[in-house]
Amino acid sequence: MEILGYITLSLFIGLMLLTLFGYIRTPVQTVLVLSTVLTLIIGAVFRYFDSGWNAVLLMPNEFLGGIILHPITALLTGLFLAGGLKASGGFEALKKMLNYLRRSPIGLVGTLVILINLPVIASLPCGRILAASLLPLLFTFGLEGGMGLLTKSQIIVLIGAFTRNAMGSCGPSPIGGVGQIGEGFLGSFFPTASEGILRAPQAFSLMLGTAVVALFLKFVSKRFYPDDVALRDVPPAWKAEGLREAVIEAPAKGYLALVIFVVSLLVSIFQPFGKMPVQTVLVGGALVMVVACRIRINDLLDGIILLPVTAMAAGFLAAGALAATGGFDALGVILNSLVRVPFLGIAGMLAIFVQFQTILPLSCSRILTAALVPVLYLFGPAKFGFLDWSQLAVVMAAYMINATTSCGPSPLGGGGMMGEGTMRAETGFIKGAYTFSSMAIMAPLAAIYMKFLNLSVFQPSNPDFVRDIVTIGEFTLVVAVANILFIAVMGRLAGTNASTNWFIQLVVFLAGGAIAGGILAFALFEQNFALITQGVAGGLIAAALIALMVPRTLSRRMTATLTGPEM
């Protein structure tokens, strides 16, 4: 039976890579369903010869088991709520409130910074819920949207950073975010872990990651891909003239809808009326909105973004089929054998493992997370014993932050595409920024935070709080400064030659990946130089793989996607 696992695994990864590089030009759902069907056929043949028809007939049940129902339904109900909010003018009301905020002491910049960080603060189970509804609002700050407050480059930075934050926000969400999977596993050892051990590191690293994405977009992406954003710029005359105030009208029911939205979010997060599933609360909120704000049920339907739902379900189907045929067991064996490779070892293997989702970005991170986190769990004391519990927690934090943000750069309908579309950029414009931030900033920072602060909080026996917080501060500054330096160098060196640019980017990515791997190994094994070297090696490999996925030039890639690879 083992060979079956290898066959189906290579089938799945091969199909996914072909789709990522644009050789298969079909929507990702179709490819996932096809891979499910192929996997099931192969599995059925094997099973028929192994244990007869009965076993084959039970296969549908087994691959349906791959569907994790909760995120799908939570996402749907969240989208209902957002659709209702949109239809009843809630976002106009929000805009008006932002206008008031803009005139307060924190000014325009502070408002934008809060707005960028809003998704993590609101913590919905999928970043797309807020992104779909807030991106048009952010767009209106620019010239095309009518307000004319920001220039082209500012809009690019704003939307890119917001999308980064939104796509990461499903990690720290307490109402069924991706991070819950990791928290549940860690709950085996840390008694209160399932109530939020991973939330703090993720939110921590997301804040800095967002800032770094903003910097990357400003200094690098615009030089690398100069002609790929179709936004118009504000004429200088306007800028000198000052702001042109746009009159915003918000209906009263918009405020009401906003209140219902916030209340149902708070109810679903803090559960004041006893434990109740998120879906019930959100559907209840949506129905209250239907009655109170007099919107149609069509407006709720209007809010649904079908792609993440179907892509997630299709991915779960494919993952379920893989699990039923032993594909993920084979993956576990492969990763396990990576440990014995010289120069790589356990630290190197983990450095690659942590970046796995960024290397192979699917349209929702849960697809691979649901399959890979159990593998990670088995590396811990539960089976192989490579790591102890606190090290497992550190790896889990680093893995989770990369996983949750992986749907941003995915060209298969990831959430980042919404940002790209809104800023009128070509597909793949923000991919470099996203992958760089999740690889070089977020993963090491989350690991460091987990190691030096969060674990101490969850194990109060540790007295060295102040020393640890200084360590975190040092590492945060070092990582941030090093990466800002990289970005500045990359931006300075970038020219007009695409292949030179790409080579510079590869070098910087390698450097960032090496630092990330080293820091991860340090967070895991402290000052063990052999292991840190291994971590650096693993980080280099992961960074090389990630850099290979970032497009060299956008327009040509777009043309290739449109007309076929021959051109």
Partner: protein, 50 residues
């Protein structure tokens, strides 16, 4: 408590970085960005379990 401090620190840092990236780098605007980041960090820390 320490969680709050780290979050406020990182929030301020990210606020400054974002406002710099947004081409708004006069001292007043940097300060405003830092203030916004501080508020964001505060809200984020308030959402965490204690």
């Amino acid at each position: 408590m320490l969680t709050w401090i780290t979050f406020l620190f990182v929030g301020t840092l990210s606020g400054v970085l974002i406002s710099w990236a947004l081409d708004m780098s006069s001292p007043k605007e940097l300060l405003q960005g830092a203030l916004g980041g501080l508020i964001a960090g505060f809200l984020m820390a308030a959402m965490l379990p204690h």
